[in-house]
Amino acid sequence: MTADVIIIGAGVTGAAIARELSRYKLKILILEKEAEAAFGVSKSNSGIIHAGTQNPPSSLKGWLCVEGNRLIREEIAADLGLDFAQCGQLIAVFDLADLPELEIIKKEGEELGVRGLELVDRAWLDLNEPNISPGVKAALRVPSAGIISPYRFVYALVENAVKNGAELKTERKVTGIRPQKGGGFEVVAGGEVFRARFLVNAAGLYADEISAMAGAPTFKITPRKGEEYLLDKKREHLSNHILFPLPSATSKGVLVIKTADGNPMIGPTAHDVEDKADLSTTEEGLEEVLAGARRLIPSVSKSDIIAYFSGLRPVAGKDFIIRHEDSAPGLVNAAGIQSPGLTSAPAIAVMVAGILKEHGLGLEPKEEFRRLRPRPVHLFQVPPEETRRLIAKNPAYGDIVCRCELVSAQEIRDALKRGARTLDGVKFRTRAQSGRCHGGFCTTRVIKIMQEELGLPATAVSKRGRGSELIKDERK
């Protein structure tokens, strides 16, 4: 199969690039090694849409973040039917002697174009953040920051790219890249060979290996682990903003994060690790996160925790690597996309399209780019009149499968129609299994709906792809 552009990796970076390129008359192929999009680095993202502060004004990260934030707020969230909550962020100081540090962050942010930054005092905090620690003396308020569901962001980008003609192939781990004599590449993935003139490397933790395979061993990715702990939705109003401590020399700081689904989240840790597959959490990590979160909100309790996970940030030095590799003509790297990568993705996509154009890819706009994606139905979000209307249209919206998060059989079917292939994919899209009982009640029903819709035997249904099947045998 031959495409104009092959994008390696269907995380947020690859997905945003695919959607951006799908505006043009191009054949675009996305190769993903996992069973679904967003199953790599992106799924463990905290979902913060950063404003752009705390990046050096001269960095790539800085301006891409500010521009990505603007694109998400002003266009993309609405176009793709995503819930973006602009809750704002506070960077807290525990000592008024640190105020000059906040002034520097404010000044650097303003240079990058971040708007509305203001220093707030204790009286403001008392009024607006009643649970915040008395130890917090002042804060920098960053109103343009917000939250989004990271995986739903990726799914929306991919769905929209596919709607506009891009093709996604999952379970296609790239095992070989052969530069061709007349230009372009042959890519071996999942036993198939794909060809394209241009290659975009958005392979996250494995971007260094992909770049080397294509002939440009120009950087190394170091995984930096972050453990995150989700709290019960009952603690939804723990904080009104995303809370950051001012980073100190010893600690980058544990945050108190609001999430798109209402559960507060505390974390992350930041420790460099060797293993790119090490997603374990630790007792030490939990203690570190609890202590850090309690500095900001003393009432955070271990018993509020309902889930935890860790993610790996793909670190390649201090800044993003977004460039054409002259040693491998046709290869564009979008690598080292750690924080604020989720925010920056739409701006990175525009930048990558520009680099491709500079290197000879024709960008001729399609007559019709379908920029809108219908918002998926979530019963837990809609008022009773809307629930009634949905059920009248389709009775299965009244058939509740997940009782903790109020998810109907039809929402599960909708998710499968939109591309979910695994239990985790259903969970990320619908929230089924993500509540207090962790799927104790609904897992068997979800598996059965997956069997019906996907035509699979029970033994083929997996948590997150091959090797993670849930059932070993079916009794006859």
Binding site: I391, T444, I471
Partner: protein, 329 residues
């Protein structure tokens, strides 16, 4: 808004006993809401014997015990059963909304009995660190998989916690040909009934490690092993005592939590340590006319006692419907 005399949420043993007792006490109109597609609740997956020794003076399996009540409920024309019906809202004024395939119903009840049972505590609540592969199941979910669906979850299991469901499942999996490597219990004694320790572990040579805990679960896609460590009487890890057990399945049986989110929504007082209603007596809640019975009111070890107390709840609701002002003051 439709009016009903008594609405019972939950069609397991508690809800069915309450419905029948309320009818016997003179309630004319009972609506029994069950979220699943059949009555009986968790008893349907408890295919082992040991039920009914007190109530029926004979030994029954879970489905047999549930079946006797379901037959009585089916015969009673004063009880309307609505299956696949899921209550999404309850107010202190006993207004209820529930979803069922094809409809969102709204009802004003004279009295409400919550017989919503329990959910299982999970791995995340302990919490056990490590990775999050496939193969980790709450014991009750594993029981449902094996007994209702006929799905064998794995080949070699370790069970965390020695609650009754965990013990029963140790035997059940052994009977299905799975290797049950160990039951790990942090306390000094088993949490389950003695008869279950004997019949489910000892008879099958399944080792029970008391005063041990699972300190990590490992495995990338599927569980590969657990790390186990011995603890002293203060529950502190004994240095150098850690060992690993290879397995592809971990069952978590570390207790039950009464499901009282509806009661909480209605504004009743809840003791958040146990998730049970704060009330002056059995089956009562802080809201007059709203009752909670069975495992929603406290965790029982025998279904016979659930039946006994839930029958009382049915009577209490009948008395309330006779003279609501007496309870409302």
């Amino acid at each position: 808004m439709k009016k009903r005399d008594l609405v019972i949420v939950g069609g397991g043993p508690a809800g069915m006993a309450a419905a029948l007792a309320a009818r016997a006490a003179g309630v004319q109109d009972v609506l029994l809401l069950e979220r699943d597609q059949y009555l009986g609740g968790i008893l349907n997956q408890c295919i082992h014997p040991g039920f009914g020794l007190h109530h029926f003076k004979e030994e029954l399996t879970g489905p047999e015990y549930a079946g006797r009540f379901a037959a009585l409920v089916a015969e009673d024309r004063g009880i309307e059963v609505s299956l696949r019906s899921f209550v999404v809202k309850l107010t202190k004024d006993k207004e209820l909304s529930y979803l069922r395939p094809g409809a969102l119903e709204e009802i004003k009840a004279g009295s409400v009995i919550l017989a919503t049972g329990c959910r299982e505590r999970t791995r995340e609540m302990i919490p056990i660190p490590g990775s999050r592969p496939a193969g980790i199941y709450p014991a009750g979910l594993a029981q449902k998989m094996v007994n209702i669906e006929g799905w064998i979850p794995g080949r070699a299991a370790v069970i965390v916690g020695s609650g009754d469901i965990g013990l029963i499942m140790a035997r059940r999996m052994a009977l299905e040909g799975m290797a049950v490597k160990a039951v790990i219990e942090i306390q000094k004694t088993s949490r389950g009934l003695v008869r279950n320790v004997v019949q489910c572990l000892e008879d099958f040579n399944i080792p029970l490690y008391l005063r041990h805990r699972v300190s990590a679960i490992h495995g990338r896609d599927r569980v590969e092993k657990v790390r186990v460590v011995k603890v002293d009487d203060a529950s502190v890890d004994v240095p150098g005592s850690a060992f690993e057990i290879a397995c592809d399945t971990v069952l978590v049986s570390v207790g039950l939590i009464p499901e009282n989110e509806l009661l909480e929504m209605a504004g009743a007082e809840i003791d958040f340590r146990t998730n049970t209603p704060v009330a002056p007596g059995v089956n009562l809640t802080s809201i007059p006319g709203i009752f909670a019975c069975g495992n929603a009111s406290k965790v029982y070890d025998l279904v016979d006692w659930v039946t006994r107390d839930s029958e009382l709840a049915g009577k209490m609701a009948a008395e309330y419907l006779e003279r609501p002002e007496a309870a409302d003051r």
